[in-house]
């Protein structure tokens, strides 16, 4: 079975986000970018399936600007076998919307015929939480979202989902789209030899036009604003001081 893992290049979660002066979005020029953390978890899970003998090949796919090849190299260094980059934008500020991504992924899936797609539940940049679901609809495949546990057994997958107020376990028929949540696993970090090997693994480059998908935006960003600034904290020297301060503030 092939496992396909879509990975998105997003602003690194450690970066202090700055809103662009025209309010059209956040500034991404010369800012550190990384793989979407949920996609890292998906990638890790796919590699674990391969290590457990339940998958034969892990294919990472990224859709966006050319620089997303760095994100794919990260997936390859973690252990993916090969990668497909679909260039769909020149400007790092252009976000490809979930529907366009899902359409491109569908086209890739038609070619590759994976038995499972493991995706992040959402990307940390725009928190859409939509691509996996749209893809399932376009393909007519089963879907299981917010996975915190995954077991593949023949032509079925048992998935534990993190739903409001608890956990839900469902059984879905393969092929399936599974979107993963934070607690599914802890992704590995790449070793130096694997980073070196990743440089030699195949990375195919395509364009959105190759798949005949129109990626022009359907949504218009009206405004982007900073969240309200957090008030500065205070460092206290001792427990007594802390207790005194808390009393003063009426907190205890």
């Amino acid at each position: 079975m092939k496992v396909l893992v879509p990975v998105k290049r997003v602003i690194d979660y450690n970066v202090k986000v700055r809103v662009k002066s025209d309010g059209s979005g956040v500034d991404l020029a010369n800012v550190k970018m990384s793989m979407n953390p949920f996609d890292e978890i998906a990638c890790e899970e796919a590699i674990r399936l391969k290590e457990a003998g339940k998958a034969d090949e892990v294919i990472a796919v990224s859709i966006g600007v050319k620089q997303a090849q760095e994100t794919l190299r990260t997936a390859l260094a973690m252990g993916a076998d090969r990668a497909i980059l679909v260039i769909a934008a020149d400007d790092v500020h252009q976000d490809i919307e979930p529907l366009a991504v899902a359409k491109i992924l569908k086209a890739v899936i038609d070619e590759e015929q994976p038995g499972l797609v493991l995706a992040g539940k959402q990307a940390i940049d725009n928190d859409m939480n939509a691509t996996g679901q749209m893809l399932a609809a376009l393909l007519g495949w089963s879907q299981a979202t917010f996975a915190s546990k995954l077991d593949i057994d023949g032509d079925h997958a048992t998935v534990t989902r993190e739903v409001d107020g608890g956990l839900q376990t469902i059984k879905v028929k393969m092929p399936a789209i599974v979107t993963v949540d934070l607690r599914l696993n802890e992704p590995r970090y790449a070793s130096l030899p694997n980073i070196m090997k990743a440089k030699k693994k195949p990375l195919d480059e395509k364009t959105a036009a190759d798949y005949g998908v129109d990626v022009s935006p359907r949504l218009e960003v009206v405004k982007t604003t900073e969240p309200e600034a957090r008030k500065a904290g205070e460092i206290v020297g001792s427990v007594d001081e802390l207790v005194a301060k808390l009393k003063e503030a009426g907190a205890v």
């Binding site: 990384s34 790449a190 070793s191 130096l192 030899p193 694997n194 070196m196 500065a232 460092i235």
Partner: protein
């Protein structure tokens, strides 16, 4: 984390080393320092991740990278709050063996070093009575059949208790019998455990920075002649390969420290409120931090230049020395600003500032002191008369 001018060229390495380092939080390094212990688990993790084999060519099981990449690894360790001093020895020794060792020696040692079975972390140069005046060293190696017999004494030889192999500099032809004082010196690969059983005594030196460092005493230690690296009498030339690498790597470590201090103090100065506003709002606080940052950035450029020349196999003594000078100075400025603007808290161990402050101070003295770099530049770059 502050944005720096370095390009994205090594982001893959940085990200992976950062992720590994993140598994060893400040508490880990603090505890190691308090216990005066060796960060065994950390060095093991680096070894398992292949990081300590970065410089070993691929055909011997390493990753075949250059000094530039090795320096990025060291920088990231220090930037993450660790101390590369525990493990940089393998990086600076490696090219001495790779470039000057025989094929037989490379075959014999490199794959085992790459796999982590052996560590080559020690380099024995400094002696108590000659200090920086390296060509005057008194430790001798005398050929006797298929062996060399070593006698003498070394001081400040680091990581010996956590290394399997050491590169040792000794005199093979008496100073009086050579034309140039840099001739007649040779380097050897010493099997540390074997040597400790046969005439090498190791006496640890308690020191300011939790550096595992020692006095060594050689009393008729016999080592196989095949452990000579390169040609007899040419060792000084070979050891320079290691020393230049060491200077560039130390520069990178200081740069890592410098960024750590600046990140730390910037965050603190932005948060700490006295007199009703963040202390970082005062120019008296801002300027020294900004100045240190500028100096770290400038040192960084010279460090890349030194590494580039080294990796191209070109002479790089001047650049490696200047990079080390600039970086050690910059990290010290950054350390000073960091401890100063933490006020009293800079002295509390749990802030890690005082530990890093001590650690980075070393690099004004070792592996080469600032004065000696200045006299090198005066003599070799400016053509002024030698002062000593």
């Amino acid at each position: 984390m502050i944005q720096t001018t370095q390009g994205a060229a090594h982001d893959d390495i940085r990200d992976a080393v950062r992720a590994l380092c993140a598994e060893f939080p400040p508490e880990y390094h603090r505890k190691i320092d308090e216990d005066r212990a060796y960060p065994e688990a950390f060095v093991d993790a680096l070894t398992k991740g292949g990081w300590m084999a970065a410089l070993i060519p691929e055909e011997y099981g390493g990753s075949g990278l250059g000094l530039t990449e090795a320096s990025v690894i060291m920088e990231e360790i220090n930037r993450a709050g660790g101390n590369s001093g525990a493990c940089h020895g393998q990086m600076y020794n490696m090219n001495t063996l790779v470039r000057h060792g025989s094929e037989e020696q490379r075959q014999r040692y490199l794959p085992k070093i790459a796999s982590g079975e052996l560590r080559l972390q020690s380099m024995g140069v400094t002696e108590p009575t000659t200090g920086t005046d390296t060509t005057k060293i008194k430790t001798t190696a005398v050929r006797k059949g298929d062996r060399y017999v070593i006698n003498g004494q070394k001081v400040w030889i680091s990581r010996v208790q956590h290394s399997d192999l050491m590169i040792l500099l000794a005199r093979t032809t008496p100073l009086a019998d050579v034309k140039k004082k840099s001739e007649g010196l040779s380097i050897f690969l010493v099997d540390v455990k074997d040597a400790m059983a046969k005439g090498m005594d190791v006496k640890p030196i308690r020191n300011m920075v939790n550096h595992e460092t020692n006095e060594l005493f050689f009393d008729n230690l016999e080592i196989p002649a095949e452990n000579l690296i390169g040609e007899e009498g040419q060792g000084f030339k070979y050891i320079l390969t290691g020393l230049n690498a060491e200077r560039a790597l130390i520069a990178a470590e200081c740069i890592g420290d410098g960024y750590w201090f600046i990140d730390k103090v910037t965050a603190y100065a932005g948060e700490r409120q006295v007199f009703g506003r963040p202390i970082g709002q005062n120019q008296g606080v801002q300027f020294p931090i900004a100045e240190a940052f500028i100096e770290v950035e400038a040192a960084n450029l010279m460090r890349y230049e030194a590494c580039r020349l080294f990796d191209e196999g070109q002479p790089c003594g001047a650049q490696a020395n200047m990079a080390k000078y600039l970086a050690a100075k910059a990290s010290w400025e950054a350390a000073n600003a960091c401890i100063q603007f933490h006020g009293g808290f800079g002295f509390a161990s749990e802030y890690d500032v005082e530990r890093k402050f001590r650690e980075t101070r070393l690099y004004q003295v070792a592996p080469i002191s600032t004065n000696l770099i200045l006299s090198y530049v005066a003599e070799h770059m400016l053509g002024l008369p030698r002062s000593f």
